[in-house]
Symmetry: D2
Subunit: 137 residues, 4 copies
């Protein structure tokens, strides 16, 4: 397992008239967590695309325990396991201090640059995840 935590500042744009973050925006916060997790693994997503692959989202889930609010500095933690098959599962938790606000997940698959053909994760990517598993055990 590899994990990484990124701080995100809630913007006015992220709120709605309920006075809290619009629920769909948590998927954007997940994106930031995922991007920084991949960068930490030496696999910046911009490099994945430059290498001719995409990593689209197939599924997403979201559970809101407590809403985040304007101007809060929240911590987005993304964790990733070595995939058993072709699908990659990333899990997220958003905290404000010690308090869990939101959890969720996204499922991805690597595809060719036209998005049409699923492919196996790059070997170097799997290697990083495997090393992460070892160092975590």
């Amino acid at each position: 397992m590899i994990g990484h935590t990124t701080n995100v500042r809630v913007r006015y744009r992220d709120t709605d008239q309920m006075g809290v973050v619009y629920h769909g925006v948590y998927l954007e916060f997940f994106e930031t967590g995922r991007t920084e997790l991949l960068r930490t693994c030496g696999m910046a997503y911009s490099n994945i695309e430059r290498g001719g692959l995409l990593l689209p989202v197939l599924e997403a889930t979201l559970q809101i325990q407590r809403p985040a609010r304007y101007d809060e500095l929240i911590a987005v933690t993304a964790t990733m396991h070595e995939p058993t098959g072709i699908r990659l599962l990333i899990q997220y938790q958003i905290h404000r201090g010690d308090l869990l606000l939101v959890s969720g997940s996204t499922t991805h698959v690597f595809t060719t640059a036209d998005g049409m053909k699923p492919v196996r994760p790059p070997a170097g990517f799997l290697e990083v995840l495997r090393q992460g598993n070892q160092s975590a055990s």
Copy 2:
């Protein structure tokens, strides 16, 4: 069960550089489907808020079979069952013609206007759902 289908035109704003709709935007399309479903039930969400209640999202799920693309006119179908407890489950399917693109769900609970206290759904709301169930059986 009560259901309603609304057409949505995919905007440039909804796309990302993968050339398809950004995954989080499907939750916004779900919102449009849910809003028009509630309006059809005689329970416009703007009236729910004017009546001193909120209906925030507690959970959301999203499965993308095929992405929607710029300028497509897609059909968002939202369906709702009579709730057994306090939670309200709404399910969604997005089609382009006969082709299923995306499915998903949101779970809600009615709360007081400060968002702090869950409350039972309004009696009139349950009545509409009950009548929907009868007419569907």
Copy 3:
């Protein structure tokens, strides 16, 4: 001059915690007005891109007289003159009933598909604008 009016329903996603539409969202409403104006002219923007051209935004302006609010059905009017040079100016007004809420403009230039080289507007496009000018005079 060619003009077209499109109705847009304000979504919850479009609001912020001020209880009104977030100012940047008016540019998205302008996009919808512009898209439908171009479609009316027989020049759907999706076809412009399929034809190997882009029409990016170079400049935008926005004046808010009164904010739009959740669930309002507002009318976005986009108007376009025959360009004197290479730049295309589109102007917008957003009304709720007879009341002017927001006005603004976007300036565009046609470019090659890589976005690097400005090009003259397609002849067919200018012809439509010229006919629009004649029928308006």
Copy 4:
């Protein structure tokens, strides 16, 4: 004059299928620049709202010299002068390294918490701007 520069990472959500940042998103980047400028002045916007005032946007302008792209770390500089009347003008420049990408402005007015009545800027706020002017001269 008071100025402040904030770094912003371009997200996938910020791009569109042109492969660059969607033009309306620059107003969101301006928001981040403005928020951090106000915080630096000891006038965090969240505190302004807690103090019973709003600072809505009345006008916005945007000039795009070159687009920002996915995953770029861009610098948003916001500058503010002491207002001569009731309106507050904030100016923005977005750079990637030494290269100017986007410039623009927003015009604001302080209002009562219901957004209905324009009011003079708080005295403490003007004092900070006046001191900024002196230290810059």
